[in-house]
Amino acid sequence: MSAKATSPQTDQAIRSELSQWLDDNWSADRSLLEWRNILVDGGWAATGWPTAYFGRDYNREQTALVYAIFREKGAVGAASIGPRRLASETILAMGNDDQKRRYLRPILTGEHNWCQLFSEPGSGSDLAGLSTKAVFIDGQWIVNGQKVWNTSAHHADYGILVARTHWELPKHQGISYFLIDMRQPGVEVRPLKQMNGHASFNEVFMTDAVVAAEDLVGEEGNGWAVAKTTLSYERRGGAPTLPAASAADNPRVGRVYSEYQKELAIANEPYSWYPQRQGRVDLVMSRARETGAIANPVVRQEIAKLFCMSKGAVLASQAAESKRKSGSTEIVPAGSIGKLAASVIARQAAHVHTMISGADAMLSGPDSAAAGMIAEVLISVPAISIAGGTDEIQRNIISERVLAMPKEQRSDTGPFRDIKRNS
């Protein structure tokens, strides 16, 4: 409310300006790229961004209104899905003018796909322990090392990369942050097949890969601070730069739509099993009824435990949100607690689905229970407590930052080269 009051533009003014602009410019018969260029030039591609870089400095509520209007009109927005948002938000926050000018626009138009090159086989939870090496030779950076868990890297044009540039400094101080061209001979991308059969991620091998001097983000050795910007955006889930679902909600005929659907299908493919890794709580009651398991008092108890947790977790995050809005100074541990709760809920859901299915849970594939969704739940749930920070890391965060318990003693201080690590 207060944000709206201080904002120079009223909701009504935004609505009439944007409606008029869409009436004048939106047409489903253009190519997707042509439309996106018009969108960026009109200043409606990323209204929450600064005016100097394609945006309008709108607040969250105003940006939400813009999305709503796009949705009403059935107009396609800027490209938004996948790791490209992590790149654009980081460049916006920490990049220099030159980088913003070169990289932001093609992200919005969808011309460039991005991936995130952070995790390594040797450094998972301990990201700052990374050992991909970047050396400055003859005016450019030469990169060697391996990255893993890189969503969409197989069709990425660029990557956001953290690599070590100093080996004599403590681990957090020797990291630099780069923007790397993925279409070069020194970069090899291989799909990584998961235990559930999907291959949503990749491994990326860099062998004398080249990064131009001007693609260092921030200062050399200051990469950890830049990486934290990316990570905090990733954890927040961020405000999307555009109305992602507008046309997908209501597909219509026209060249823009068909090209947009194609773009969405590619971008969303890695995430098709994500609902299953959360346990598909929504399927529990119908499955219990159709199998008759609802009559089993033990199953009923377990279902009720599941609903208590899942419903309670939603209520807890609402309570945290209203506390945040009221300006409470109390630390609201919503993110980590929500993530930990999601793991408990997913495991309990898998447990309940197992009880309900009985021996049928031995099957998988489209002919198995709920068109294969139950089987996919059972073999996808182990990912939820690992991806995006393991449960153990969440518990560290909760106990140290919220409960202010003392930190564990560390054995990774001093020069990085002296720290024991995976060989």
């Binding site: 435990k305 947790m309 541990p333 408990v344």
Partner: protein, 367 residues
């Protein structure tokens, strides 16, 4: 439906908290729990008259403050935190909720003002503290005379007014009797309790004259049950939070192997899990109170809150003792006081299993 608390509600919580910090430190809890009557008359009077808590949720026309289940919950949460020993739960919560939901207008006008003022301590006599389905199985009224036994009646030993749910030929009804020193045909036998901060008596009636104050329907009985459970859940979540906080403090100051034990992941992770469970149970509890006040929300919100808090409070109590090690098992250490309250709350007004089954039944009806 509202999701957060208003400024006034925060202020109210502060007032109750400060009052109880002052009047109900564990030294007082230990002193009063060792007495036969189990509460301090002066503190109860101040709490009722000056702070006005006894009538928090009772409408103004019956002498109360006219707030709702949310404010009552705020008070109950603080009482659970500070293990307040007194007839707040038996009289203001249990008896008043029974009257509010089932008494006729004239009996509400007659009986509630004394409860709201704290001058008339009332006890709700139920023949089961396990499930509403069993109510009426042991207490019967015939020709205005009550006969039967209630095995577990909270605070009957100090009550001046007994509110009874009993069965007659016409079904369940709400009855009352004023207790005098020698009511013929009635015996009140104080029992030894696992939790000494909550006094329980066995009450036997043999042809005791009672006044009928209202009808109890299946719906109103379940509503009474829900209201009591929601207040109880608040008491429990207050206790659980207190246990977590004191346990964290202990792990920061207790040194073993040259470091505070709170720096060991083995302990930190358990505290993090406990915080998560408490946050979830607390949110469900606050939500249940709002559902009662707004007459909206899931019909099973109260059972969900009681099921979650039952598991969470006793888990917090077990962890509080375990993380303290040997000292946690001593009489001198205060944790045992909350452990016993947690156990007593866990089984009072239905176990977690009962409430989970009730949840599923209500979901099936709603589907």
């Amino acid at each position: 439906m509202q999701t957060g608390f208003s400024k006034d509600q925060h202020q109210f919580r502060e007032i109750v908290s400060r009052f109880l910090q002052d009047k109900s430190p564990t030294s007082e809890v230990r002193r009063t729990m060792a007495t036969a009557q189990g509460y301090d008359v002066d503190v109860w009077r101040t709490l009722s008259v000056e702070v006005g808590l006894a009538g928090t949720h009772i409408p103004e026309e019956y002498g109360g403050s006219g707030f709702g289940a949310v404010e009552l919950g705020i008070a109950a949460e603080q009482m659970g935190r500070h293990l307040y020993c007194g007839p707040f739960f038996s009289s203001s919560v249990m008896a008043a909720y029974a009257l509010l939901n089932s008494a006729t207008e004239s009996y509400k006008e007659k009986l509630l003002p004394g409860i709201a003022a704290g001058t008339s301590i009332a006890a709700l006599v139920l023949d089961s503290l396990n499930t509403p389905d069993q109510i009426g199985s042991a207490l019967t009224v015939s020709d205005g005379l009550l006969t039967g036994t209630a095995d577990l009646v909270i605070d009957a030993h100090i009550a001046e007014l007994l509110i009874v749910v009993a069965k007659s030929e016409s079904g369940l009804g709400l009855y009352c009797l004023q207790r005098r020193d020698e009511t013929a045909g009635m015996t009140i036998e104080p029992l030894e309790t696992l939790d000494p901060t909550r006094k329980i008596s066995k009450v036997c009636f043999t042809q005791v004259a009672v006044e009928k104050v209202g009808e109890v329907t299946d719906q109103s009985l379940n509503q009474i049950w829900d209201c009591i459970c929601v207040a109880l859940a608040h008491e429990m979540i207050g206790g659980a939070q207190q246990l977590l906080e004191t346990t964290i403090e202990y792990t920061k100051m207790r040194y073993q192997f040259g470091r505070p034990i709170g720096s060991f992941q083995g302990l930190k992770h358990r505290c993090a899990d406990l915080l998560m469970e408490i946050e979830i149970a607390k949110a469900a509890t606050h939500h249940a109170a709002r559902c009662l006040d707004s007459n909206e929300g899931e019909p099973y919100a109260a059972s969900m809150a009681k099921a979650l808090t039952a598991d969470t409070y006793i888990k917090a109590a077990k962890e509080a003792i375990q993380l303290r090690g040997g000292i946690g098992f001593t009489w001198e250490e205060d944790t045992q006081l909350w452990y016993k309250r947690a156990k007593s709350c866990e089984v009072f007004m239905g176990t977690a299993d009962f409430h989970r089954e009730r949840m599923i039944c209500l979901m099936e009806v709603g589907a």
